[in-house]
């Protein structure tokens, strides 16, 4: 758990004072991803970098795992927190294996333990340990380098991770792919993660919670659904965009909508269906796109084994009015 208590950062240059972070209060629960979202200069990166004391706090305090970060030795604190940055920051003079083992080595792990950890992490990242072990960072693609950056931060198994736009410099296809892999890994790891982003879609996709900042102030914090359905003020409303209702559809999938349709299975199923098909796991935004271009606004839903299980109509979306993801999970 990470707790921010009246955290303030004031930069002084000459007699001018600039408040970069203004009296921030909130907490991030164990195992949650909290995305810090906002335009550049909103203080999100400053706040992140205060957690591992790369930037000193002017007033207030931060607690990590119940301990005030200022009561801890600075070097020990940093070694207990995973840190990933946008331009990966891999050490060009070290091999991939050496890069990943930096923190374990500083913590004095023995060789065999480091070796095993390296192989496990490479497995987790979907990279071949033997192939990459002796190679240098410049020999890897941008996506591979970023994966190594994440693996390196995970090496000593820290309970908390700080990630500063880790996918920001990647092309959209690779970024999407890495985001999915990252979520899969996180489902098993259950780390407490602070994640800086300026991309609302990334925040919705990855965040258990989203904290939106503007000019050093916390505008709103909540689940992606809360942010999208009930923006607290004009700034948040503008920032999430006019299509926030559409974006909310990405939070639910076809399976969720089916729960709301009475007698879906018996409904309208015709076995020699030749029209468009939608997977039961598709998110509702993509499903809507299919339905809008389908003849009669209808498409057949298929399950994980490609079995046809029913027909979805574009008008079914009206059932979603005033429905939130948390309500669905209760029904299910």
């Amino acid at each position: 758990m990470i707790e921010f208590k009246n955290v303030t950062k004031v930069y002084e240059s000459g007699n001018k004072k600039v408040t970069a972070v203004n009296d921030i209060n909130f907490q991030v629960e164990q195992g949650e991803i909290c995305v810090f979202l906002g335009p550049s200069g909103c203080g999100k990166t400053t706040l992140l970098r205060m957690v591992n004391r790369l930037i000193p706090i002017t007033s207030g305090g931060i607690e990590v795992e119940g301990k005030d970060i200022h009561s801890m030795d600075m070097i020990k604190l940093r070694r207990s927190i995973g840190y990933v940055i946008q331009h990966n920051g891999l050490f060009p003079n070290m091999t991939i294996e050496e890069n990943i083992n930096v923190v374990p080595k500083m913590l004095g792990w023995d060789q065999s333990k480091m070796k095993k950890r390296f192989v496990d992490l490479m497995d987790m990242m979907g990279l071949d340990a033997g192939q990459f072990q002796k190679r240098y960072p410049y020999e890897l693609s941008g996506g591979q380098q970023q994966r190594i950056g994440i693996a390196r931060a995970l090496a000593a198994d820290p309970p908390v991770m700080l990630m500063d736009e880790p996918f920001g410099a990647l092309d959209p296809v690779i970024r999407d792919h890495l985001q999915n892999e990252f979520l899969k890994i996180q489902r098993e790891m259950k780390k407490t993660i602070l994640f800086v982003s300026h991309d609302i879609d990334e925040a919705i996709k990855l965040g258990d919670k989203i904290a939106i900042f503007d000019t050093g102030k916390l505008m709103q914090i909540g689940t992606p659904d809360e942010i999208l359905s009930t923006p607290k003020n004009d700034f948040v409303r503008d920032f999430v965009g006019d299509d926030r209702t559409l974006k909310r559809l990405t939070l639910l999938n076809v399976r969720d909508l089916m729960v709301l349709i009475d007698g879906f299975k018996k409904n309208r199923l015709n076995h020699d269906w030749h029209g468009p098909v939608i997977s039961i796991n598709e998110n509702l935004k993509s499903a809507l796109a299919v339905l809008l271009t389908a003849p009669n606004g209808e498409a057949c839903v298929v399950d994980d084994h490609h079995r046809k299980i029913g027909v979805l109509h574009v008008s079914d979306f009206s059932l979603l009015t005033e429905v939130h993801p948390k309500d669905i999970s209760i029904v299910r």
Partner: protein
């Protein structure tokens, strides 16, 4: 030309001795200069406020004409009865080597990718670990370029040190001038040039090897 070859074949064992003396003089001076200049360069890269002053002083020392610096050394070292000879020459050469070594060390460490430095600090490296494991290996090729510059520079200046009795290949030039023996002057000059060029080529190779090892991201 033939006279020079003649001179060399008649005096080769003496020349070899002088060349070794020259190498010894330069090697010792630059060796000490590395031990003082590199740490100094590292130190000022961490203390920005000092950097300008130190680089300015090193720059001023380098602009003092070598013959004048040797002249200054004589009265100072006379105080400990070492007015002429090896010691004042070494000290002068160390002073000349400081600027390229300090400046290149400073620039090389300053130029380490700020993302790499940020990652090193954020992961919990101490300042010492960051220097030894990350910054110095990455700075090595540029520091090496400074050392190379210092060596070539002191091979040239070292020739003049013969005037204060430090020995080396400059001896032929000094003796040749005072006895109006042109072949001796030419032989000394060519020998110093060949030494400087071949050492430069050798160190160039070494520098390339270093850069390859720390290939950039």
């Amino acid at each position: 030309m033939l006279e020079i070859i003649d001179f060399v074949s008649n005096n080769w064992s003496e020349m070899l001795g002088m060349t070794l003396e020259h190498i010894q003089l330069v090697g010792l001076a630059v060796g000490i200069a590395i031990f003082t200049g590199v740490p100094f360069g590292i130190y000022i890269s961490q203390r920005e406020s000092l950097a300008e002053l130190v680089l300015a002083v090193a720059g001023i020392i380098m602009t003092i004409p070598s013959i004048a610096l040797f002249g200054i050394m004589i009265p100072i070292f006379s105080l400990i009865n070492q007015g002429i000879g090896f010691l004042p020459a070494i000290v002068a050469l160390i002073l000349y080597s400081q600027l390229p070594i300090i400046r290149n060390t400073y620039i090389a460490i300053k130029n380490v990718d700020p993302n790499v430095r940020d990652a090193a600090i954020g992961m919990g490296m101490t300042t010492f670990q960051r220097l030894v494991k990350v910054e110095l290996p990455l700075a090595a090729p540029v520091i090496m370029a400074g050392v190379r510059m210092a060596i070539v520079l002191t091979i040239g200046i070292g020739a003049i040190a013969a005037y204060i009795g430090a020995g080396g290949l400059g001896g032929y030039i000094a003796r040749g001038i005072s006895t109006s023996y042109a072949v001796m002057i030419q032989t000394g000059a060519i020998a110093v040039s060949i030494l400087a060029i071949s050492v430069d080529l050798l160190l160039g190779r070494l520098q390339k090897k270093l850069s390859r090892k720390s290939a950039r991201a």
